[in-house]
Amino acid sequence: MEMNTKIINHEFEYHAPRTLEDALGLLRKPGAVALAGGTDLINRLKQNSAQPTDVVYLGYLEELKKTEPAGGSGMRFGAMVSMTEIEKIPGLRSDYGCLYEAIHSVGGQQIRNTATVAGNIANASPAADSPVALIALGARCELGRLGDDGKVVRRQVPVEEMFSGPGKTILEQGELILDIVLPPPAALSACAFQRNTRVKLDVAKASVAVWLRMEGESCAEIRIAAGSVGPVPLRGKTVEDALGGKILDKEVIQKAAELIEKDIRPITDVRSTDTYRQRVMKVLVRDAVLSAWEQSKKDDTMGAKAK
């Protein structure tokens, strides 16, 4: 493909709606696409891999810019809150550390100042960083579309169920991610994010996030999500089954992490090979589980605070 990165040749109509209802109405049109931060869409427009008839900019919708700090009912932030703003939400770093790490690992400060987590999900790159952390945390997307009566119809979908393939989501035409909803931090829980790249700015070769909740010495609940090792972010169910209900120690964790190869389907691409990804994933999973486990023992983790 001829690579043009200077100008956008493709022509489209531009809309900057001032109400959510107007935006959702415009997005019903086949060929219409939502523009949030633009850090993925603008590249795709330049390279003609996106050819929308209409671009609907969401930057004037105040209801998509709201944030709710962590509380009894969890945390919530709107689709147009930039990654930099999300990093600064009170409690984000202390209570949802793996999401902070995943977001902070995205691009440089300029990218994070415009890019959004909702856009990261909607773009559905198998290598995206934030969905991995969101899945481990059990986060949900609140979606909205315009009903026949002109009112916004909402539904919630776990982030894990948002993806249907590389670059593909379950979003229907006219449907938009409105909010990301994180469950409240549970007692004695902790999470960790690990990512492998050549240099920090790069897109991940492989990534993993782990969330776990301890009851005494044993692991009561665990969720593992892996990125860049399949067409969509994948759950590490075999590893989860090997650790759930078990008393954790380094050896148990090491052995369980090896099982991640059963859960992932990596390919060889420009960034890495399938063999490398299979091997490095075992290390990343081990390190992430160890890190989450260690954190769950400390007093300043999210679990201790929530008690």
Partner: protein, 162 residues
Amino acid sequence: MKKIPIQLTINGRKREILVRPNETLLNVLRDRFHLTAVKYGCGIGECGACTVLLDGVPVLSCQLLAATCDGHEVVTAEGLAPEGETDPMQDAFVEEGAVQCGFCTPGMVISATALVRENPDPSTEDIKDALRGNLCRCTGYENIIRAVKTGAKKIKSRKRET
């Protein structure tokens, strides 16, 4: 394709222009206002050479539609100091020899300026983190990091004086 009237404040001056929906902020700044400190490097958000301040926040002008900047304020490296003058961060880059070919310099200076506004006394790690979205093709990072530290000191001492 309908043209869109927008209002932009560019380096302190209010401008009213018509833009095409598919026009990037980068191309508006370079081609219409001849603000050539804003560089077209990679065009896909990897190199940081097109970095400008949008409402005080560093962003990549190659990845923004000009239309979405309607009503906002843009500052390029040309606008950091009054015409014909340089600002302390620019002086620091010159003094520390942090300019080789110079292509990345305006973007580096903008990112560094934004960093020092939030963090007046950045560590080497802070600087590496804030500048990781700006690539130097001459690989002159040592001097650039030193320049940001020197620039931060200059800005601090200037604030003390005033």
